[in-house]
Structures are given as structure tokens and as C-alpha cells.
Subunit: 246 residues, 2 copies
């Protein structure tokens, strides 16, 4: 019996998110990988993911693990699974971990990237990979605002109402907004993220970018612990789970 | 009667190239735009494209024109057409041109971009937007090789055999290869390009990048005027028609 850790990249466009659903007609990343693993190992495998990404969200470095009796060498699993996976999911790496390793519980931090296409016309090429926002964004103000997120804060204002976690306190290690040609890119790393937290932060930073909010308003939004004070949740298609830390 | 010039961006993934085909079951960019223009104007419209991109090739600044009796203001055409176009084709701009303007005959040059994803594992996110090449490419050598293309040359060696143009002499104004993270990007501008010329050049530069050819071999390949001397044609999905000059 061994515990295999997978590093996964996927295009979330055609999936209803990571998590398997009771309705089998719904295509999910977890469900797809589990089906492929069953074919490869002949076992009924349960894959544990590091987080539950929403429909349309992408991942460049998603981590998952599963227990198997299979004799396939750990580092060969990636080839075996990739052969049966659809082309929008790729196993970048597979290796054996300690039997106690758990992709979700052992995770100590994550980095997300959000891409905004900031120009007049929408892009057919990036239509599923960036959020198109027409009005000119003040990237410098957005970056200034992002700095107020760094540190240990109660992020209740940046949490979707559906969420029911015990604590809303999270520590943000780094946050940055910068422009590359007509893309505005937001990078954030933290010890954990609440439901929709990154997308609500982006929605709020966009309000800063168009002058509707000031960078320092982030301080009072955090203090308010009120979802109504923050901006709207930005669309899923601009979001990438970039790296997971253990 | 007026002549409308369109600036078009498209994701070529789901199309059999620009040019309309006799078989109506085949989806083409030209056919799709003509159908949409018929809906918008009520006329049977013929759209003239600046070039015939192959299946899977993308465009960021394709130019086309059409003659119409429609009363829609020239600069409003983009909104009217975009409303009925599928999301993988976008009209960036529309404006009235001199009645003699012809998107193909008036074109004096073009710029193409080719993207190679140069890393071990393939990318599900870029699967339709870059050519995945595993072996490490020597970008400096590739760029050195590209410099030999600049100037007026007979490009017979870089032309697909199917082609039957009068002259194979073209002038390359600029050519450059550089890396951005794990992408190797090739940019080339010239007064014209033969059938598959950019893709054959990329295939040849890749051979330079893996040490199979030397940068200065480009000189003898050009002189040979023999398709067999150049490399294979690189896949369509990495190619973008970037800008067209008039």
C-alpha cells in the first residue's frame, strides 16, 4: 500500500470544478481523474484534492493524493494516467509520499494568480483564461491596495456567504498587482483562503482600479467584517491555483 | 455603396482555416463572418481576407473588407457583427475605406508570431495556443539563425510543395527569437509569406535550437532552393497572424 502525490495542471473551462458531485452527469476534475485511475489500477480509487476549485477555475500546480495497492512505480503513474486523461488535464508529476500525507490537511499555504484583460475589445483567444474588463485600471493604486491585505487579518468581508468555516482569520504572505502588456495580473499567497476570497479581493481591487474605492479603504473593509463592504466576486475564468505549499 | 475594413481577432482552434470551402459542413472563419454579415445587412456579402490562414492558426489582427449598401454606420458594424458572431471570433474595429481598398492586394506586409512551450510536460491551458516541444531549446542560437532570414531572399526552401505562386522572393524586415518564462517566442515581419513559410522556418529554427543544424546553415538552406533542406513544418496551433500592414 502506498500514498501517491500528484501534481496536476488543468484547464477548468469544461468542468464543474474540482469536486465530484452526486449527479454523475456533471463533469468534474476529481471524478475524471478517479475514473482514469480506476482504469489504470483496476481499483476503486479516491483522490484527495488540496482544495475545491470552482467551475471554470484553472490550476497550474494543483496537488492531490491517493492510496493504492498498485504495483505501478510511483514516478510512472503520471505516464499511465496521462495516457487515459482528456487533454485538458495533465499530471505533471507523481511520487510516493509518507502514508500520512493528505493533500488538504497537510497544506500550509497556496498561491493564486488572477488575470484581467484590460482593454477595449474582448479577446477570443483569452475568452476562457482571463476576465475582460474594459475601463482603464489604475494598476499602481490596485497594487497599493493589495499591500493592505498582507499580514494576519479576519477576512469575513471577503468570504462568500455560503461558507461555514470555523475561523475567517488568514495570513497573507504576499500580494502584488502588475501589468504585462494589456493584462493586469494579481498574485497572492497565503496560509489559506476562504470560499471565493481571491475572487472577491479581485472584485474589490477592480473598484480601486476605477477609482470607486481608495487603496486605504481595504483597511476599513477588513475591519467591517461585512461582505457587503467589499466588491463583487470576479469571474472564475481569470483565476489560477498556481502553487500549493507543504 | 461603401467599402468596410474589418480588424478581426480569432481563435482558429475550431475552424478549418480562414477560407470558405465548397463543402458547407466545414466551418471556416470567412464563412462564419459572411453568414453573420448576411444576417446583419440582409445582403449576400463577400468578405475579402488579407490571407488564408490554415486550420488551427490564430489571428490577433486579421484584416478583411467587404462592399455593402447597408446604412449601418461604418464604425458601428463591429457592434452589429459581434452580436451575432460566436465567441471565438471578435471584430475589433470597423471603418470605411476607399472603394478601391482590397484586404489582400493592398497589403504591403505582415507580422507573424509563433509560440513554443519549451518544457518537460505539456500544458492543458496552452494546448491549442502553443506548440509543446520537450527538448531544451538554445534560444540564442535560434535567434542567431533568424538573423540570416532578414533581407531579400528566394524562400523556395521554406515553401510547401503544394504552393504555386509566381515568385518565391520575399523580403524579411525583422526576425527575432526570445524566451519568456517557458515560452520561446518567434516574431517575423516581411512583405509577404509563402504557403507554410513561417511554420517551416520555425521547424528549421527548432533544429538549430536542438543543435541538429547550425545558425549559419540558414544561408545554405536558402541558397539550395530545396524544400528538403529545411526542417519540418511546425504545427498550426502555435501560429498567430499578428498584424497586417497597408
Amino acid at each position: 500500500m502506498k500514498n501517491i502525490k500528484l501534481l496536476i495542471e488543468y484547464d477548468g473551462t469544461n468542468y464543474s470544478g474540482w469536486q465530484k458531485q452526486i449527479n454523475n452527469n456533471v463533469s468534474t476534475i476529481q471524478g475524471t481523474i478517479e475514473q482514469c485511475l480506476s482504469k489504470v489500477t483496476g481499483e476503486k480509487v479516491e483522490v484527495i484534492g488540496c482544495s475545491r476549485t470552482d467551475a471554470g477555475v484553472h490550476a497550474k500546480g494543483f496537488v492531490a493524493n491517493f492510496i493504492t495497492e498498485s504495483r505501478i512505480p510511483s514516478d510512472k503513474f503520471k505516464y499511465a494516467i496521462n495516457r487515459v486523461l482528456p487533454e485538458d488535464i495533465v499530471i505533471i508529476d507523481s511520487k510516493e509520499e509518507n502514508i500520512n500525507f493528505h493533500a488538504r490537511y497537510c497544506c500550509i499555504g497556496k498561491r493564486y494568480i488572477y488575470k484581467i484583460l484590460n482593454r477595449q475589445w474582448k479577446s477570443p483567444i483569452l475568452r476562457n483564461y482571463a476576465y475582460h474588463f474594459k475601463d482603464k485600471l489604475d494598476v499602481e493604486s490596485m497594487n497599493k491596495a493589495a499591500q493592505y491585505l498582507i499580514g494576519k487579518h479576519d477576512f469575513t468581508s471577503f468570504k462568500s456567504s455560503g461558507s461555514s468555516v470555523r475561523s475567517s482569520v488568514r495570513t497573507i504572505m504576499d500580494a502584488k498587482v502588475y501589468a504585462v502588456e494589456d493584462l493586469v495580473i494579481f498574485i497572492i499567497s497565503g496560509d489559506g483562503f476562504l470560499y471565493n476570497m481571491v475572487r472577491i479581493i479581485v472584485g474589490t481591487l477592480i473598484e480601486v482600479g476605477i477609482g470607486k474605492k481608495k487603496p486605504e479603504d481595504i483597511v476599513s473593509i477588513l475591519e467591517a467584517k461585512d461582505r457587503q463592504k467589499a466588491g463583487a466576486s470576479a469571474p472564475a475564468r481569470g483565476l489560477y491555483l498556481d502553487e500549493v505549499f507543504y
